[in-house]
Every structure is written in structure tokens, then in C-alpha cells.
């Protein structure tokens, strides 16, 4: 009798980690489901269009890219506005990146002459800031549409660590 209960106890002890693991796995699935739910609610009850790679991203609610000169906003572009500009495709970091050139975006905002450009992003996933001289803003400096529906600035000449994701502002300056 005592041996039997001892064996049951040992069996119970060995089953405990497995039970905990099962609970952890369930918690993991629940957390992922919660993330999808939070995203769905935050997007106002619509599924995120840019979440799947390769789809046409509409961008997060309220997301815009502003062109500024001397603190004045010259124009705000929604991702849809930027889609309407001429699109180019470049290869950077081993991947094809497509979107309007930074030059085209600045031209559409009425910027014709500038000495330097400061690209600013949300700054949560990278430095969120990149300063370029006017001569570095060539036809291969592109605002690429990301899978998240935001834009990142990329170029074959730009170091991987210098790219800015979730771009929010293009600030031009004249000396």
C-alpha cells in the first residue's frame, strides 16, 4: 500500500514538469492570439493589410511622412500618396526594395534646392535619425514600403546599420 502511494507520488512528480510545459505552451498560444486581437482592435476592427509580406500596405492609422523645411511642414504624405509617385526598384541588403525615390518625394513637396537632408523615424527599432548631404540623395535613395506598411529609407550605398525604419519626417536644410 505504502509502496503504491510512493510510486504514485513519484509518477506525480515526473508528470508535473510535463503539465507545466503544457500550460506554458497554452499560454504562449494565448499570447500570440492576444497580439492578433490587440492589433485588430487598434486597427479599428480591420485586419492589418501590410502584415503579410508582398501585399500592398496601407500603413498604420494616422501614419504619414512629412517634408519639413526650417520647421515648416511643406507637405504630409500618406502611404497611399507615396504609392502614387513614380516607383523604382533597387536591390539593397540582398533584397529588392521598391517605392518612390526620396528625390521624387522632395520634388512633390516643392523642394528643389537643399544642402542637407535629415531623415527621422520613430526610433524604436533603429537610431531613428540619418543625416545626408545633398549629393548623397541620388536616384537610388528610396523610401521602401515595408511589410508593416510603414516606410524605410534604403540605398545600396547606405550601410545596413544606418537605415531608418518607420520614417516620419524628411527635414531639408540650407546653409
Amino acid at each position: 500500500m505504502r509502496e503504491g502511494s510512493r510510486a504514485d507520488g513519484a509518477q506525480g512528480r515526473s508528470a508535473r514538469p510535463r503539465r507545466r510545459l503544457e500550460l506554458l505552451a497554452v499560454a504562449l498560444v494565448a499570447l500570440v492570439a492576444l497580439a492578433w486581437l490587440v492589433e485588430w482592435r487598434a486597427a479599428g476592427g480591420v485586419s492589418t493589410p501590410g502584415a503579410v509580406a508582398g501585399t500592398d500596405a496601407a500603413g498604420p492609422p494616422g501614419y504619414t511622412v512629412a517634408v519639413l523645411r526650417g520647421g515648416d511642414v511643406l507637405r504630409r504624405f500618406t502611404p497611399a500618396d507615396l504609392r502614387r509617385l513614380p516607383q523604382v526598384t533597387i536591390t539593397a541588403d540582398g533584397k529588392e526594395q521598391d517605392g518612390p525615390t526620396v528625390h521624387a518625394v522632395l520634388s512633390a513637396a516643392g523642394v528643389t534646392d537643399f544642402d542637407r537632408l535629415e531623415v527621422r523615424g520613430m526610433g524604436l527599432r533603429d537610431d531613428g535619425r540619418l543625416t545626408l548631404a545633398a549629393r548623397q540623395v541620388g536616384e537610388d535613395l528610396v523610401l521602401d514600403f515595408t511589410d508593416r506598411g510603414t516606410l524605410k529609407v534604403v540605398s545600396p550605398d547606405l550601410d545596413w546599420g544606418d537605415r531608418v525604419r518607420d520614417v516620419t519626417e524628411l527635414r531639408v536644410g540650407v546653409h
Binding site: R16, P17, R20, L21, L24, A25, L28, L31, V32, A35, W36, L37, V38, E39, W40, R41, A42, A43, T48, G50, A51, V52, A53, G59, P60, P61, G62, Y63, D93, G94, K95, M122, G123, L124, R125, D126, D127, G128, D147, R148, G149, T150, W160, G161, D166
Partner: protein, 196 residues
């Protein structure tokens, strides 16, 4: 014996670290920072770096037989990353690594013999990488970033973080299993007592 067995005592906590343990913490933290700075996996999917980083946290936990080892690695890796200017905001990088390390340590407490269980490391690895994402979201909330922006693509990112974290946990399992065959790297929980 696994360190998270029922007989584990308080002398396995991180203030009892030996010189060997401290050196291993420093080495693994350096490897994490080097991986972050120089390693490129052209997958372009959120959370893919978790394959390597989670594996390194598991390796730290597997080779250093002390509670809190993974958290300490996270603290140091975050500090190094902040010092070397990796990541946008030093606090974000630091909190991300601490969250990953702490999650691995909590996993060790919750699942006895974690490091010998493939399935357990799959789950805990997934949690560790998800902790990194959660830390970033939490800091985004603290910084009062727009919610619509912050949560945009969160479900997709959470899914990919879980997948890559699980792969990292599995990779860590195999690396620890092989490294433990090397005498100098095999975890020695009795060493701390002998030294004192």
C-alpha cells in the same frame, strides 16, 4: 544534476559566481553583442535574430550552473550594446536583453530539467523571443508612441518571434549538449562551494 532540481539551494544564486562563471557570462554577453552588431541573416522577417540570441542565452544557462545566469548575461549584453551605441534607445536594447535573460531563468525555475528537454526549450525559447518584442512594445507605450502605429503588425511580429525563438531554443539545446562534452565547459555546480 540539473541546476533547477528540487535540491537546488541558494548558493546557486548569482552572487556565488566563480571566476569561470563570470568569464562565461562576459563571453556570452560579448557574443550576443557581436551577433547584434555584425551578423546579418537576410530573412527580413521580424524576430529572426532570435535564432542566434535565444540560442546564446540557452548556452549561458547551460554552461553556467547558477540561478540568474541568463539574466546577468542580459544585463551585461544590454549594457555593452548601450555603450557601443547599438539600437535606437539604449534603454530599449538593455530592457530587451534583460527580459530575454530573465525569461530563460524563469523557465529554468518553472520546468525542472529544462536544459535536457527539447520540447521545453522550444517553448521557453519562444517565450524569450516574445519577451523581447513585449519589452519593445512596453517601452513604446511608456514613450507614448501612437497605439495604432505600435500595434500595427503586432500579431504577425508575435508569430514570427515565437517561431524564431523556438528555433533558437532548439539550437541552444543541441549546442549545450555538445559543449557539455567538453570538460572545461561542462557545468560544475560544486565548484562554488569548494571555492568558499
Amino acid at each position: 544534476m540539473s541546476r533547477n532540481s528540487a535540491s537546488a539551494s541558494t548558493d546557486s544564486l548569482f552572487w556565488s559566481f566563480t571566476l569561470r562563471d563570470v568569464l562565461l557570462v562576459a563571453i556570452v554577453a560579448d557574443l550576443i553583442v557581436l551577433a547584434k552588431a555584425f551578423m546579418r541573416i537576410p530573412l527580413h522577417v521580424p524576430g529572426h535574430t532570435g535564432v542566434v540570441v535565444v540560442a546564446l542565452f540557452v548556452v549561458a544557462a547551460g554552461l553556467i550552473d547558477r540561478r540568474g545566469a541568463a539574466t546577468l548575461v542580459g544585463l551585461l549584453a544590454g549594457l555593452l550594446a548601450a555603450v557601443f551605441g547599438l539600437g535606437a534607445i539604449p534603454l530599449v536594447t538593455w530592457v530587451k536583453y534583460v527580459a530575454m535573460g530573465a525569461t530563460v531563468d524563469v523557465g529554468l525555475l518553472l520546468v525542472p530539467g529544462l536544459l535536457e528537454r527539447r520540447a521545453a526549450l522550444l517553448v521557453v525559447g519562444a517565450f524569450a523571443n516574445l519577451a523581447k518584442l513585449s519589452a519593445a512594445v512596453a517601452i513604446g507605450l511608456l514613450l507614448e508612441l501612437p497605439l495604432g502605429f505600435l500595434f500595427w503588425g503586432l500579431g504577425y511580429a508575435a508569430t514570427t518571434h515565437v517561431v524564431f525563438g523556438a528555433i533558437g531554443g532548439l539550437l541552444g539545446f543541441y549546442v549545450v549538449r555538445e559543449l557539455r562534452k567538453v570538460p572545461v565547459l561542462a557545468a560544475r555546480r560544486d565548484q562554488g562551494r569548494d571555492d568558499t
